[in-house]
C-alpha cells in the first residue's frame, strides 16, 4: 500500500476532493438558503420559481449537470473562467455541484422551518418586525438549528458526489483511482481500500459533529 502513496500523489488528489467539497458546500448553502427563502415567502411567483428549481435540479442526474457544465458552458457557450484547463474544469465542477446540492439544502432548511411553530412567526410580526427581519431574527436561526442533521446528510452526500467531477477531468480521487487501476491492476484491492478509507475519514467526522451540534444547539420548547 506504501507503493501507492510513493508512486501517486494520493494526498494531493484528496486535497482536490476537499477543495471541491468545501467550495461547493459553501455555494450550495448560500444558493439553497436563497431558494428556501423563496419557497417560504408569501409571494406566489417566487414560491413557484423556488419549487420549479428544486424539482428540476433535484431530479436531474448529477453526471448530466456536471457534463453540461463542461460541454454546455465551457465548450458551446465559451464561458471559460480561466485559461488553465484544469482550473477551468475545477471551477465549473464546483458551480455544478453547488447548484445541484442547493436543491437538497433548500429542502433540508424547509424541513427545519417546519420545526418552528407558526406562533413564532406571528409573534415576530406582532411586535412589528418586517418579513425580512422576522426571517433573520426568528425563523431562520431556529430553522438552521432544526435542520442541522439533514444538512449534515447533504454534506456527506456532497463529499462523495465530488467523485462525479472526474467525468470532466478534475484531478480528484476518483480520477486518480482510475489511473491507478489501469497502471497497477495487481494492487486492485489496496487501491479500493485506500479510496474507501479516505472517504470514511472525510465523512465520518461530519456525521459525528452534526449529531453533537444538533443536540447541543437544539431549541428547547
Amino acid at each position: 500500500m506504501g507503493e501507492l502513496f510513493s508512486q501517486y500523489n494520493v494526498l494531493g488528489a484528496f486535497g482536490i476532493t476537499i477543495v471541491l467539497t468545501v467550495l461547493s458546500a459553501l455555494g450550495a448553502l448560500v444558493i439553497g438558503t436563497l431558494v428556501a427563502i423563496m419557497r417560504v415567502s408569501p409571494v406566489g411567483f417566487l414560491n413557484k420559481l423556488g419549487a420549479l428549481y428544486v424539482n428540476l435540479v433535484r431530479n436531474t442526474p448529477l453526471t448530466l449537470i456536471i457534463v453540461f457544465c463542461n460541454i454546455g458552458f465551457i465548450v458551446n457557450l465559451g464561458m471559460s473562467v480561466s485559461d488553465d484547463f484544469a482550473r477551468n474544469n475545477l471551477v465549473w465542477a464546483t458551480i455544478g455541484l453547488a447548484f445541484y446540492h442547493a436543491a437538497f439544502v433548500c429542502e433540508a432548511l424547509r424541513s427545519g422551518v417546519n420545526t418552528v411553530p407558526a406562533g413564532q412567526a406571528e409573534a415576530a410580526r406582532s411586535i412589528g418586525l418586517s418579513f425580512g427581519q422576522s426571517l433573520r431574527e426568528v425563523l431562520l436561526p431556529q430553522a438552521f438549528r432544526g435542520a442541522i442533521t439533514p444538512l449534515g446528510n447533504t454534506l456527506i452526500a456532497l463529499t462523495k458526489n465530488t467523485t462525479v467531477a472526474t467525468a470532466i477531468g478534475v484531478a480528484e480521487v476518483a480520477g486518480l483511482m482510475k489511473t491507478m487501476q489501469e497502471d497497477r491492476p495487481d494492487l486492485m484491492v489496496p487501491i479500493f481500500l485506500v479510496v474507501a478509507i479516505g472517504f470514511v475519514i472525510l465523512t465520518l467526522p461530519i456525521g459525528l459533529v452534526t449529531t453533537h451540534l444538533s443536540q447541543k444547539l437544539a431549541v428547547k420548547r
Partner: protein
C-alpha cells in the same frame, strides 16, 4: 379605536358578521363568548394577523394599512399577547424583550436593556432575565410576553385568552399583572374566560356568539341582568360550576 361593519369568512364559514365596536382611550374591554364565536379571530383581525373582507378598523383615526412597512408600524403600536405565549425559543428572556425596541424602534442596546429590566421588574421576573423561555414556568413566560409587548410602548394591548394555557395556580400571577396594567390607563382588549377579571378590571363587557356582538354593557349590568337569551344561557352554564 373604531371598528365598523367588519366581515370575515373562513371559506364558507362566516366568522365575523357586521362587527361594530368603538373603544376609547384607556378603556378596558373584555370579550366573552362560547368557543367558536369569533372572539379570537376578532382579536387577530385587529392587528391584521388575519385579513378581513369588508368593513374598516381605524386606530386614532388612521385606517389599518394593507401591507408592508406601514402595517409593520401598526403592529408595533398594537401589543399582542397570545394564548401559547410564543416567546422566541432561541433567545433569552432579555433578548426577547429587547428585539423589537432595537430592530423596530432603533433603540440602542443599552437603552433597550435598561427599559427591558424595568419591565421585567414590573412583571416580577427579573431573576430569569438570562434564562431561555423553556426554563420558565407558563405563568412566568406569559408575564414575559406581556413585558415584550409593553416594550414597544403600544397604544393598545390585545390579549388572546392569555390564561387559558396556564396551570390553575399560575392564572392569578398573570391576571394581577393585567389588572395593574388596566389600572395604569392602558387601552386593552381582553379575550378571556376569567369572569373575576372581567368584573374587577373591565370598563365594558362585550358578549359574542356566532360571529356577532350580541350584547355589551358594564360588567355589573352584564353579569347581573343580561338581556339577551344567549348571554343568559352562557352565564347560566359557566357560573353554575
Amino acid at each position: 379605536m373604531v371598528i365598523t361593519g367588519l366581515n370575515k369568512h373562513f371559506g364558507e364559514l362566516h366568522v365575523l358578521r357586521d362587527i361594530n365596536l368603538t373603544i376609547g382611550k384607556g378603556e378596558v374591554v373584555v370579550v366573552l363568548g362560547p368557543s367558536g364565536s369569533g372572539k379570537s379571530t376578532l382579536c387577530r383581525t385587529i392587528n391584521r394577523l388575519e385579513p378581513f373582507e369588508t368593513g374598516s378598523i381605524t386606530i386614532d383615526g388612521v385606517p389599518l394599512p394593507d401591507e408592508g412597512k406601514s402595517l409593520a408600524q401598526l403592529r408595533a403600536d398594537v401589543g399582542m399577547v397570545f394564548q401559547s405565549f410564543n416567546l422566541f425559543a432561541h433567545k433569552t428572556i432579555l433578548e426577547n424583550i429587547t428585539l423589537g425596541p432595537m430592530k423596530v424602534r432603533k433603540k440602542s442596546k443599552a437603552d433597550a436593556e435598561k427599559d427591558a429590566m424595568a419591565l421585567l421588574e414590573r412583571v416580577g421576573v427579573t431573576a430569569q432575565a438570562n434564562k431561555y423561555p423553556a426554563q420558565l414556568s407558563g405563568g412566568q413566560q406569559q408575564r414575559v410576553a406581556i413585558a415584550r409587548a409593553l416594550a414597544m410602548r403600544p397604544k393598545v394591548m390585545l390579549f388572546d385568552e392569555p390564561t387559558s394555557a396556564l396551570d390553575p395556580e399560575m392564572v392569578n400571577e398573570v391576571l394581577e399583572v393585567m389588572t395593574e396594567l388596566a389600572q395604569s390607563g392602558m387601552t386593552m382588549i381582553v379575550i378571556t374566560h376569567e369572569m373575576g377579571f372581567a368584573r374587577r378590571a373591565a370598563n365594558r363587557v362585550v358578549f359574542m356568539a356566532d360571529g356577532q356582538i350580541v350584547e355589551t354593557g358594564t360588567p355589573d349590568t352584564f353579569f347581573n341582568n343580561p338581556t339577551s337569551h344567549r348571554a343568559q344561557d352562557f352565564l347560566g352554564k359557566i357560573l353554575s360550576h
